[in-house]
Amino acid sequence: MTSRGRAVVALVWGVLVTTVLIGLPLALRDRLPDPLATHWDGGFIPDGHTSFGGSVLADLFLWGVGWAFLLGTALRGTVLDTRLWRALWWGFLFGWAVFALGVQGLALYANLDVADWRQAVLPGWLLAAVLGSALAAGAVAGLLGRGEPDPPRDHPVPPSMRLRPGRRAVWVSRTTNPWLVGLSTAALLALVVAGVLFTTGILTDGAAWISLIVLIPLTLFGFATSSISARADEKGLSIGFGPLGRPVHRTPIGEIEAAWVENYGPSRVGGWGVRGMPGTGRITLMLRGGECLVVRRVTGAEIAVSVDDAEHGAALLNAYTAETVTS
């Protein structure tokens, strides 16, 4: 289905759902108390209420947020080019509608024919039924709407170069993101400050633990992804994380199918750092926008890293790969 077709389906279906969300409470208005019970505690006893109009608006808002998001993604056609995203889109379109209708239905059912909102008891199994049917509707719609499997992704012609006998050729590059260095340094400083405050007794045990749990991973992960060093040689591609180049991620030359250069930025992969989009089969180490060295393994998995002079790195890897294949 084209992206325009999907947008039309989302529009028609959304109008239908919206009509029910407005029409059903209006039709039942005479049999409902005002205000309505709209919140139940764990024992399914009502503990919160909203006016009739407010409750209808809340239901519309719950549905409308999801609907707007779905319409937006349908119109931005390229997002739904992969099978996984199509399945998620269709699943969300129907699953979210069932969920929104179900939530409203629950509230109306509990409030129906009671004199006062405090008497509106919500049977627990109904909530489970709504969640279950929303998930089931989403799964079925996702399966039906996912479409054809993704075609094998093609890539630009991989560059290559001549390896001369008796010469050792290596390629190295490094990218550093000063913002990430700054952030990690700030986290490290905060850690030191928290340590000092704890030893002087100003910080309580609980607060000290929380700052440790938050700041240590932030510091370590921040430094590890603030700087990346890449090296290509006859053994393959190795990517070192952090200022020390440790840990190292290696792609052996025998497992490389091809390497090439692509130009893209953080907006395509959803931000900086280690990034993976489901359905693309690619992990990106994004430290800055611009040229990225992309390496595809024979398994089809890809790793991309934003480094300078990527063209030479790709050419060298392809040259070494060709040697291992022929020899």
Partner: protein, 115 residues
């Protein structure tokens, strides 16, 4: 940065390293203002001592190709002059000729025939 070392080259190692970095700058893969990978990365990749790489970098700084900045590493200052690049290419040509058993005189002869 692409670095190649000739395993049969009899020149001192730091000269060879300087030569391969000079070529990387000459072919435009590193433009003025770009920062070079740290000397330690280069040394690790080539399997040589970091001091050898530093010596090569200092030579290139003295030629006006590189700029050392405290805390900011080494960056490219200017492009090498044509003669230095040609000399490097000629040296490679001579090394290649040597592998096929041709001496410098015969290479000069070939060049004369071409021009």
């Amino acid at each position: 940065m692409l670095l190649t070392l000739d395993l049969n080259d009899s020149r001192p190692l730091h000269d060879q390293v300087a030569g391969t970095i000079r070529r990387a700058i000459a072919d435009g893969s590193y433009a003025p203002g770009d920062r070079l990978p740290p000397a330690r990365d280069l040394a690790d990749a080539l399997g040589i001592n970091a001091n050898t790489v530093l010596r090569a970098l200092r030579e290139l700084r003295d030629e006006g190709l590189l700029e050392f900045r405290r805390g900011r590493g080494v960056s490219v200052l200017g492009r090498p002059d044509a003669r230095a690049v040609l000399a490097e290419a000629a040296r490679e040509l001579l090394a290649e000729a040597d592998r096929y058993g041709y001496g410098p005189e015969e290479v000069i002869h070939i060049i004369r025939e071409l021009s």
